[in-house]
Symmetry: C2
Subunit: 362 residues, 2 copies
């Protein structure tokens, strides 16, 4: 690796609970820890594998809730224990990213960082690699906050969109606006315009750039971290975080910084990305058999089509008749059978389960 | 118990494989061994419990395939080992009943016998008890082959029917004909006529009466058993059966004797009987919740009705949306989801499973 590469860091955000993928995703083992695609590697492990060609192994950090510490150690034994940042509470992405930036800046003031979700799917890793290298070069040469914008392929109403402005260099453009999830009509306009890209939640910046931006746009947060400035990357960091992290107000990095800063850029990319946010997204991104079913287990299906069958237990057989466009998800102590068209109700179902059975099935 | 009672015997036929209840019913643990109704007792155990008021415990015999020997010993530890007759092969009911009759006659030439399936449901046990006592008295006083005929409540096409003739005594009538499963039109005629009763497969007779009838109508079978006449109820019986039972041609007792003999009677009864032959039968005979679902496990059902949810694993939760009139049966390594209206296809599904996976799920 080049000299510059040794200053490149990766932060994998791994604290999500993935409730839309219940019952596969559970509070004590969310989606990112599951081998969702049956490849033998969990989504987290795939996220880790994917970044190694661009970032030295010892520069990969994972930020997660402290209750997932043992899962991380089990799934990523190669990650240094000191590179696992354990949040005492869930505070959304801004505090998570701020902590990681302070931590890395204390180790390496010249650091550049890619912030990566742990539970997304990227199918074209060669293209991803090229995009990430270009992104690192851009932020190393510019005081810029760079987000990866996915070329949209359908009028998706479940994602945020980024509107592009002036080109800074080939493939990297100034961001004009961030837009929350649009309705279908607006999403179609976005798609046709060619000016809008999906917000992937993958960011690149120098540690100093994001800390500067946080100081400017979220000073309450940075003043909290600044109080422990000399403790980051020391044995006393954990103690400081335990005492102070709870005080961070929950906030997303988009809202805290990206929508406000004036040095925000987007790299327009197309590397087979999906956030695997829902069962339907998993269905859409999985190979289908002749009947259009996605079968992640042994299935004998009769008069069934457009369905996804996912069973945790190895070798379990599903025999199904007359299921059209269904989700069948068997996760040991919970079996979910639900039409794909009703999947937005899964969150409500999880609530109902909580009311009826407390934490037992969550 | 009276003197007469000490001559009363019960034969529980326990060799069925229950393939229509797959995947709950398996080759190595058929339906009769399962606590199907969630009462804490298997259907076999319920059959045993039900007969004890009328028959001395030491007179209860179980006939089954030798591969179920350990299941029987486990579920009915009270049954004497010498009262468990283990068939080396499946040969339908005639050889089974013949063997039991020879065995019992060797112990007690005055014996009267009730032959009982092990996998039926009887809900009104008090009435059953009265019927059985009356039946025993009838066959003890008459050289009669008595079958219990269930008062039909619907034009069922899945059962055999018995047409009644002249009354012999109150509630017990000469049988005019046995009729195989009728079509719906004919079943309606049967129901309306008041002359037809369902063939329950429960029989009463003296040991000597059934042996005489078998000698007359199935002499090949009795000549085979007669060759070992002096061996029944001796230590050499097992050896004799091992050597000869395989040679019995498969045959039902209905076809071998009941449809041919001229001393066949029916006791018309009404004690909440169901043969639990199918999932729909189980559904029909189980208490339903407000939505008309039968739930043998924890279920949260949305827009679902008329369905039966059966899960083997204790505490497993099923969350279902949009299932109308379905069978959902989760038996550990197999999950079946099938409309009740398609349940006659389960046998075909089991065949397909055998083709695809050999014996693994059977």
């Amino acid at each position: 690796m080049t000299d510059q590469t040794s200053h490149r860091y990766c932060v994998i955000m791994c604290g999500g609970v993935g409730s839309r993928f219940w019952p596969y995703s559970r509070e004590n083992c969310p989606k990112q820890f599951i081998d969702f695609l049956g490849t033998g590697r969990s989504l987290l492990q795939m996220s880790y594998d994917r970044i190694l060609p661009m970032v030295p192994k010892e520069n990969v950090l994972v930020v997660t809730n402290e209750k997932y510490a043992s899962l991380i150690r089990e799934q990523l034994p190669e990650v240094l224990p000191s590179n696992i940042l354990l949040e005492p509470a869930r505070r959304n992405t801004a505090p998570c990213i701020a902590w990681a930036a302070y931590h890395i800046a204390a180790i390496d003031p010249q650091a550049s960082i890619i912030v990566n979700p742990s539970d997304h799917l990227i199918t074209r890793e060669g293209i991803f690699e090229d995009c990430v290298r270009r992104g690192f070069e851009f932020v190393e040469n510019n005081d810029a906050l760079l987000t990866l914008g996915i070329t949209p392929t359908r009028p998706e109403t479940g994602y945020g969109y980024i509107q592009i402005g002036k080109e800074a260099e080939p493939g990297i453009l100034k961001v004009k606006t961030f837009t929350e999830k649009p309705n279908l009509e607006l999403a179609k306009v976005f798609l046709d315009s060619g000016e809008f890209f999906w917000n992937s939640g993958i960011f690149l910046w120098r540690a100093s750039s994001i800390i500067d931006a946080l100081r400017k746009y979220d000073p309450d947060l940075t003043s909290l971290f600044d109080r422990g400035a000399e403790l980051f990357a020391t044995p006393r960091e954990t103690e400081f975080i335990e005492a102070n992290f709870m005080s961070c107000p929950p906030n997303s990095i988009d809202y805290a910084v990206m929508e406000k800063a004036d040095n925000v850029y987007v790299e327009c990319v197309n590397f087979g990305w999906n956030d695997l946010g829902t069962w339907s997204a998993l269905y859409d991104n999985s190979p289908k058999n002749q009947e259009g079913n996605v079968t992640q287990c042994r299935v004998l299906a009769y008069e069934s089509s457009g369905s996804i069958f996912a069973v945790r237990e190895a070798d379990k057989l599903v025999v199904a008749h007359g299921l059209k466009d269904y989700i069948v998800a068997d996760a040991g102590d919970v079996l979910l059978i639900c039409p794909k068209s009703e999947e937005q109700r899964i969150k409500q179902m999880v609530n109902d389960v909580r009311i009826a059975y407390k934490e037992q099935y969550l």
